[in-house]
């Protein structure tokens, strides 16, 4: 039996998903001149992991997502492991619901994101509370969740443009 020839993907096809996730993490540093906004700014990294886990899961390794989560923790100053736990939860949920989420309907994609990001928000809250050994108010996280869901179409549109610009997988 001869193994089928393996098509080598172009380097940017392989790099694009993780690179955009890292770019989304760096968006945390964006200064929005609205009082209090930076504390509840949308979680762009959750959006990026969600989209790429659906569209190009083969180029979004677990280790890469884990590393991006740690990177986010180091930038934000949150306890190490909180960001990686949240992003891995997103990837795990998408992996479990792959069939349902690989749809052409944007409404289903958005609804799926609302559920996925709720899981991510809860995972973050639980992780930080565990690390600090104290019950934190869930309201700032809840507000961030609402803004993240509301902002999803904008970033998803941008990521969709990038994904469509990449060569189709073999």
């Amino acid at each position: 039996m001869i193994a089928p020839p393996v098509r080598r993907e172009r380097w940017y096809t392989q790099v694009a998903p993780l690179a955009t996730v890292v770019g989304a993490v760096l968006l945390d540093l964006l200064w929005i001149p609205v009082p209090g906004f930076n504390a509840v700014a949308p979680a762009f990294s959750v959006m990026a992991v969600y989209c790429w886990a659906i569209w190009r899961p083969q180029f979004l390794p677990y280790v890469g997502v884990f590393a991006a989560g740690l990177f986010e923790d180091l930038i934000r100053g949150t306890p190490l492991g909180a960001g990686s736990l949240a992003l891995l939860a997103v990837q795990g949920f998408v992996w479990a619901q792959q069939r349902l989420l690989r749809t052409r309907s944007f409404e289903v994609l958005w609804l799926g994101f609302a559920i996925t990001s709720l899981i991510a928000a809860m995972a973050t809250w639980a992780a930080v509370a565990f690390a600090y050994r104290t019950a934190l108010s869930p309201w700032p996280g809840g507000m961030q969740y609402l803004l993240t869901v509301a902002a999803f179409p904008a970033l998803a549109f941008l990521l969709m443009r990038i994904e469509r610009g990449l060569p189709r997988p073999a």
Binding site: M1, L29, W31, A39, L85, G92
Partner: protein
């Protein structure tokens, strides 16, 4: 050919198995990191500090549009008030000149008395000015990044202030960037004195606008509007820094409204101040890198 393909097939199965378990393994690693996060580890500190420098140019670039908008609004707001402020300031300068002369005389007298009594005051330390370049904390952390680090003389644990009062303290120091934990962060602990009664307490952040007081021995003498200053009993922050005023006294405790508007930080100053007898002298490697129970938490000493 079939026999030659088998080893690769086996490898493929191993890879698949590894992929399936990698997810669980990484989840477990995340939880382990969270559990271990309570212990201060030097490598994590170095990694955080190094990363601050690496992301500083990006943070600076991303802060520029927001800063430009803020500066523009401030300039529009200020233009209208310039004339009025100008005449007010001229009058104030005249008053201050008179007071300065009197204060010079008092300072000279004070110095003379101190010399006679042999009193030694704490060194007030030098101030390092820095611009706030990012506010990347998110919902569960209240921190800001500032553009000053080891190169400028910033050290871990130093007090960060504005003209209005205390902002927080330095928690991570890179070569030219540092992270400041605000007094509103849930991990912040500040030893304070309250109002005229001079009651001691520990102020803790709540990830909200109003920090609260802990361990207040007597609350009877505390009233709304009482000023709160640092006591210096934590052995980290210098005494007498203005912190805020009592905003609420209720069943949920006493809440403090900081003098500094944490949402609108532009420039800050870092006080390079050593507490004699409590911290090792500057230059020693372990000055502010003392192992703590947790990375960001410090107990402010007994009130």
């Amino acid at each position: 050919m079939g026999t030659r393909a088998r080893p690769f097939g086996r490898l493929w199965h191993v890879r698949l198995w590894l992929q399936r378990f990698a997810f669980l393994l990484l989840l477990a690693t995340s939880v382990a990191l969270l559990a271990l996060g309570r212990v201060e580890s030097p490598w994590a500190g170095r990694l955080r500090a190094g990363l601050l420098d690496a992301v500083a140019p990006v943070a600076h670039g991303l802060s520029l549009p927001g800063r430009a908008v803020t500066d523009w609004f401030n300039s529009v707001k200020d233009t209208g008030e310039l004339k009025r402020q100008n005449s007010e300031l001229k009058a104030e300068i005249e008053n201050l000149k008179l007071r300065l002369t009197a204060m010079d005389e008092l300072a000279r007298e004070n110095g003379e008395f101190r010399r006679l009594l042999g009193v030694q005051l704490h060194d007030e330390g030098k101030h390092i000015a820095a611009r706030v370049i990012a506010d990347p904390g998110g919902p569960y952390v209240r921190t800001v990044l500032i553009r000053a680090g080891h190169r400028e003389g910033v050290r871990k644990g130093r007090a960060v202030v504005t003209a209005q009062g205390l902002v927080g303290r330095v928690t991570d120091v890179g070569e030219f960037t540092s992270r400041v934990m605000l007094i509103t962060d849930v991990n912040a602990r500040t030893a304070v004195l309250i109002g005229k009664s001079g009651e001691r307490a520990i102020m803790t952040g709540a990830n909200a606008d109003l920090p609260r007081l802990l361990h207040v021995a007597r609350t009877g003498g505390i009233a709304k509007g009482d000023k709160v200053v640092t006591s210096g009993h934590d052995g980290i922050l210098p005494p007498g820094l203005p912190v805020g005023e009592v905003a609420e006294i209720g069943a949920s405790g006493i809440r403090i409204r900081p003098f500094v508007d944490m949402q609108n930080l532009g420039f800050v100053r870092i006080i390079d101040h050593d507490m004699p007898g409590l911290l090792p002298p500057p230059g020693e490697p372990k000055t502010a890198e003392r192992p703590t129970r947790r990375r960001d938490r410090y107990d402010g000493g007994s009130p």
